[in-house]
Every structure is written in C-alpha cells, then in structure tokens.
C-alpha cells in the first residue's frame, strides 16, 4: 500500500462521483482515495461499469466530484486542460482535417508555442511514437493502432503534469494492444511522464503499471492498492501470483451473481 505523500502529483481523497440518468441520480464511485507520485505509473482497474472512466474524467476536469476532493499539483478547481492531457479510447479523437504532424503541432501552437518550434517538437514526438513515415497522412488513412499512437504523441508533446489514458488500447486487437503496451512503457521511460491509466485488463495493469488501484463494487470503492513494480515478465511466478491476487479482488467484490472476471 502506498501512502499519500505531499509530493504527490495527484491526490484523490474520499472522492464520490455520480451522474444523472433518466431514472435519477446514479452513484458510480462511492469512495475513492489514492495518490499518484511524480513519474509513477498508476493503473485504475475495475470491471465494466465500476466508474473508473468517470473517475478519470473527474481528474481531467470534465466532471466534478459530488463529495471528497481531487487535487492535481496542489490545485483543486479542475478544468480540462493540457496539464492533464487525455488519450481517449475512441479512434476518432484526432482532428480529421489535420495531418498527423499537425494534430501534434496544433495543440502546441494554441498553448503559446511558435509555429517553427511547435512543428519541430511535434516531429520529435511523431518520431518517438514511430509515426515518422505517416507524418503527412490524414487520420482516416491510419490504422487504429497508429491513431492511438498519434493521440499519445499529441498528449505527451504538451508535457503534461500527468498523462491520463482512458482504456487507450481497448478497441485494438490483442497483438496490437500488447505491442502498444510495450511501446508505451518505452516512451514513458524516456519522457518521465506521470501516468494515470484506466483499464479493465489485468495484463495491461501488470505490464504498464507501477501501482494498481482496484476499484470494485457498485457503487464502487477502492478495495486495495497493489504495488506491481517488481512483478517481472508475464512468465515469472511473481507475475502469476499478483495476477491471481488481482483476479480475486475483482471477482470477490462482485457480489451480485455473475462472476465476470475480465480476462485479457
């Protein structure tokens, strides 16, 4: 268990989240407390509908908690902004009327970069995400995996205090997904970015994360925070053991009948 330290980039304290549905107000997250230290890769895992994406949206500033508080770099009144750039699950998060390079350069320009510097930095991040050959293509000419890479390049080029990812590889096939997880590790290694990633895949959590926040129940609570820094490769005993532990955590808290353990 990692404790809340005052150097944390993100602090979530007793966060409660919900949304209005036609039937009335639905509570999605009952109580979430966790923190993210600088350069730490934190994964929020939970079954579908546990409110993990809602939690990420609250950190991004799209919605506000109904109780508790979220602090990013000491600030509380969060609006969406480039300091918490988001990579979404949907492929159509890119601007279709801009080329790959321009999709990365344009956000820099609106954040005060000079055109030439913006293009130069964009080129750097396009290379970093192995998109060099596709720099002048339009998004509709790219595969799903490439589109997600552009989204990652766009977000990282903004040098965010933390990178937020909402099931970024959820719509990709298994092989592409595994490759992008590896690539993401390499890229984060180089940019030293603090990461908050939401997923329902245990393997993604174990491959990418330093720390896994398990969100379960309905409405959900944080049931455990698991350190996964040293689990080793997927064939190591420690990996298997941790995976089993996560699996139990996710399955046990699913009291209402069906045991839909998510296995990816």
């Amino acid at each position: 268990m990692s404790s809340i330290t005052h150097t944390a980039v993100l602090r979530a304290e007793h966060v409660q989240l919900g949304y209005w549905a036609p039937e009335g107000f639905t509570l999605a997250v009952r109580d979430a407390t966790f923190s993210v230290a600088p350069r730490e890769k934190t994964i929020v895992i939970g079954p579908s509908g546990c409110g993990k994406s809602t939690l990420l949206k609250a950190v991004a500033g799209f919605i506000r908690p109904t109780a508790g508080r979220i602090q990013v770099a000491g600030r509380e009144k969060l609006e969406p902004g480039p300091d918490r750039a988001v990579v979404f699950q949907e492929f159509d998060q890119l601007f279709p009327w801009r080329t790959v390079l321009d999709n990365v350069a344009y956000p820099l320009r609106i954040n005060g970069w000079k055109r030439r510097d913006a293009v130069e930095r964009a080129r750097e991040f396009v290379e970093l995400t192995s998109l060099g050959d596709a720099a002048d293509r339009y998004p509709h000419q790219l595969s799903g995996g490439m589109k997600q890479r552009v989204a990652i390049a766009r977000a990282l080029a903004l040098d965010p205090a933390m990178l937020l990812m909402d099931e970024p590889f959820g719509s990709l096939d298994m092989l592409t997904r595994a490759r992008l997880q590896q690539e993401l590790n390499g890229i984060i290694e180089r940019t030293q970015t603090t990461l908050l990633l939401v997923t329902h895949s245990m393997d993604e959590a174990l491959t990418v994360g330093d720390k896994v926040v398990v969100l379960a129940g309905s409405p959900s609570t944080v049931t455990e925070i698991v350190d996964v820094r040293d689990v080793g490769p997927p064939d190591s005993p420690r990996y298997a053991e941790t995976r089993l532990h996560l699996r139990d955590l996710l399955a046990v808290t699913h009291e209402e009948g069906e045991l839909d353990v998510v296995n990816h």
């Binding site: 991004a60 902004g81 918490r84 601007f95 609106i110 339009y138 000419q141």
Partner: protein
C-alpha cells in the same frame, strides 16, 4: 497461414469490367451527350412540330444563338445580373442562417423557434413569397433578393444546426483537453467538424436559389435595371426568337454543371480528403 508474397500456381482471373462500363466516364458521357443531340436533330428534321423554327430550335441554331448572345454581350449581361441577385440573396440567406444557428445552439428556445420556422417556411416554394415581396419592396431587385434569401435561410440553418449538434463528443473533449475553450473551441473544432453539413446545406440553398431567381425573373419580367436570364427568356418569347430561348436554357444548364464541379472540387479538397465524407 500462407504469406501474401507467395504466388499461387494459377492466378484466378482479375475481376474485369465488361462492355459499356469498361469505357472511361468522360467518354461514356460524351457518347450519351452526342446521342442526345442526335435525337434532338432527328426530331427537328423529321417532325412537323420540331421542324417549325418558330416553335423549336435546331441544335445548330441554338449553338449559333448561344455564340451570338455571348459575343454581343446580351447573354453575358443577363447571366451576370442573375448571378448578382443570386450571390447577394444566398449571401444574405447564409448570414441570417448563421445567426439563427448561433441562436439555436445557445438556447433551447432558439432551437425550438428555428425548428418551427423551418417547418413552416422551408416547404414554401421560393417564388410563392414573391407577390408579397413585390408588395413590400416594389418592383425592384430587392423583392427577388428577398425571395432568394427566404429560400436559402432554412436549408442552411437546419443543416448547420444539425451539423453542430451531431459533432462527435470525443473530438470536442479532445479539443478541451488540449486547452481550447469558448469561441476558439467553436472555430477550431466545432466548425470544421460540422463542415460536411455546412457544405450540404449550401448546395441545397444554391439549388433553391437558382430555381427561385430564374422563376422570379420569368414571372415578373424586367425587374430593376438590367434583366436577368429569366427576363432574357421572356423577351425572346415575346419576339418569337426561339433559338435565343434555347440558348438561355443552355446557359442555365451549363452554369448548373459548372457549379456542380465547383462544389465537387471544394468537397474533394476538404471533407473527402479528410475522410469525413466518401467521394
């Protein structure tokens, strides 16, 4: 799994277009056009009605009248006058439509008002309001411009509003996460995302405007100083200059094709190129 670089011993025949569809598009069009002109000429040569030059013009006479009209400037002036009214009318219509869209995007009551007005006024044929317009604006080109503007506001406004409303929410969220808000979010994300609807609204408006302007000129003859194409046709009828009537119709057809091409180029350079619409 076999590799795609491996070639099977016997290649299956590549699917191939046969006969007519094998010919290039422009060639197919030219042939059809020639056939049409041929039929036209046949009708002129063989039919009693078609052979009467006061009632029906032959292809050659039409081309001659078209050529003469453009050379002496009468057709050019008429075309320009019509285009001028059309551009002003569509311009005013588009401006008002943009204001309506803004109003409708900002408030529920704005949207309700727009939907109601569109439901009432959009089905009205453009020329139907012309008598009223003449009552209000007198026998001037203002009346025609009013009729054109009325015919173009509604298709543009309804398309724009739908376009803005159906912008994919993820792209708006992406815009906000990179730091866009307010007016900048509208101009840099919402507007380009709604471009396919905007273009489709403009195309409809342009077509409505064309019909309205020519019909209005026809119905009321000379309006304002110069006469437009409708007036030109009407005058030619008065003097039984049948080839001139045909030439004016030919001009309208050619302009219609020309604007199709312009819109086609616009679409290919923007929304088709960006994969927002299939070609």
């Amino acid at each position: 799994m076999s590799s795609i670089t491996e070639t099977p011993a016997a290649l299956p025949a590549r699917p191939r277009a046969v006969g007519w569809s094998r010919l290039p598009l422009w060639f197919r069009r030219v042939i059809l056009l020639a056939a049409l002109v041929g039929l036209w000429q046949l009708y002129v040569s063989w039919s009693e009605f078609g052979g009467n030059p006061l009632l029906f013009a032959a292809p050659a006479d039409t081309v001659q009248a078209f050529w003469d009209g453009w050379r002496d400037g009468s057709l050019a002036r008429a075309t320009w006058e019509t285009m001028r009214l059309l551009l002003i009318g569509v311009g005013i219509g588009a401006l008002i439509a943009a204001l309506f869209t803004l109003f409708a995007s900002l408030s529920q009551i704005g949207e309700d008002i727009l939907l109601l007005l569109t439901a009432i006024l959009n089905p009205l044929p453009g020329v139907a309001v012309l008598p009223l317009a003449l009552l209000w604006f007198g026998l001037s080109s203002k009346a025609i411009i009013f009729a054109i503007a009325n015919a173009t506001i509604w298709p543009i406004a309804i398309n724009l509003t739908t376009g803005f409303k159906t912008v994919n929410p993820t792209i708006v969220a992406a815009g906000r996460t990179i730091g866009l808000k307010g007016v900048r979010l509208v101009t840099d994300v919402l507007a380009p995302a709604a471009l396919p609807s905007a273009i489709s609204g403009l195309k409809t408006a342009w077509a409505f405007g064309w019909r309205t302007v020519v019909a209005a000129e026809l119905v009321f003859g000379v309006v304002g100083g110069e006469g437009g194409l409708g007036t030109y046709i009407n005058n030619a009828k008065l003097y039984l200059f049948t080839p001139q009537m045909f030439a004016a119709l030919l001009t309208i057809a050619v302009l219609g094709v020309a604007f199709e091409l312009v819109f086609g180029v616009l679409e290919r350079r923007t929304i088709v190129r960006w994969g927002m619409q299939r070609s």
